[in-house]
Amino acid sequence: MAVRVQSDDFDLGLEVAELTRDTRVIGAVVSFIGLVRDTTGGDLTSMELEHYPGMTEQALAAIDAEATKRWSLSGSMVIHRYGDLKTGEQIMMVATASAHRKDAFDAAEFLMDYLKTDAPFWKKEHLKSGSQWVESKASDEDAKDRWKT
């Protein structure tokens, strides 16, 4: 159960190795990586990620704690970067470890869905022709709502 907010890149393999080290009870690890994607057909030069220091860490920790409450997890890791990222670079990752795959899959999806709408990050696309803030999608709110009980 850990959360990191950093400008540096990360290594998913190392993070997963750390998550599963010194334990024999983990049968499943699910991981997800989000990448900077060009939706403009070659116009994107970089993606700027702004965040709200302090609240970001708190919000991610709260989402992580909720996932740990809902599913039987042996460990989890959320890393989200900020700053200027180039096309194809890693933006963030989540990894969840559990005895069984269903808990790991569901918890990873839950973490992603909540992170999208509740963690204070904003993306700005820098294009050859100017720059624009990425707009949030209604489908992100819908994805989160399916977890409401």
Binding site: M55, M112, K116, T117, W122, W133, S136
Partner: protein, 84 residues
């Protein structure tokens, strides 16, 4: 009167032109505070013309626009998040 640190992010920050300011106010809720700012200067009206795309955190916790500012110290106003 109370003093609040008011933070702006993303395009809200760009439209207002500063990331942070200290405001002395009597506003009871975030909505009241925003109305007060809009009455003051046009750049606030530009930032807050569509309140359906504005979110608020009181002391780093997401809060509704009509939440009370009683005891609050830090208010943040920003567009919907787009992380992940």
């Amino acid at each position: 009167m109370k003093q609040l640190d008011v933070l702006y992010f993303a395009w809200v920050r760009e439209r207002i032109g500063i990331p942070k300011e200290r405001i002395t106010t009597d506003a009871a809720t975030v909505s009241d505070l925003i109305a007060e700012l809009c009455a003051k200067e046009e750049r606030y009206q530009m930032a807050f013309q569509d309140m359906t795309v504005v979110k608020v955190a009181i002391d780093q916790t997401l809060s509704p626009l009509d939440a009370s500012l009683e005891g609050a110290r830090e208010i943040a106003i920003f567009p919907p998040m787009t992380g992940g």
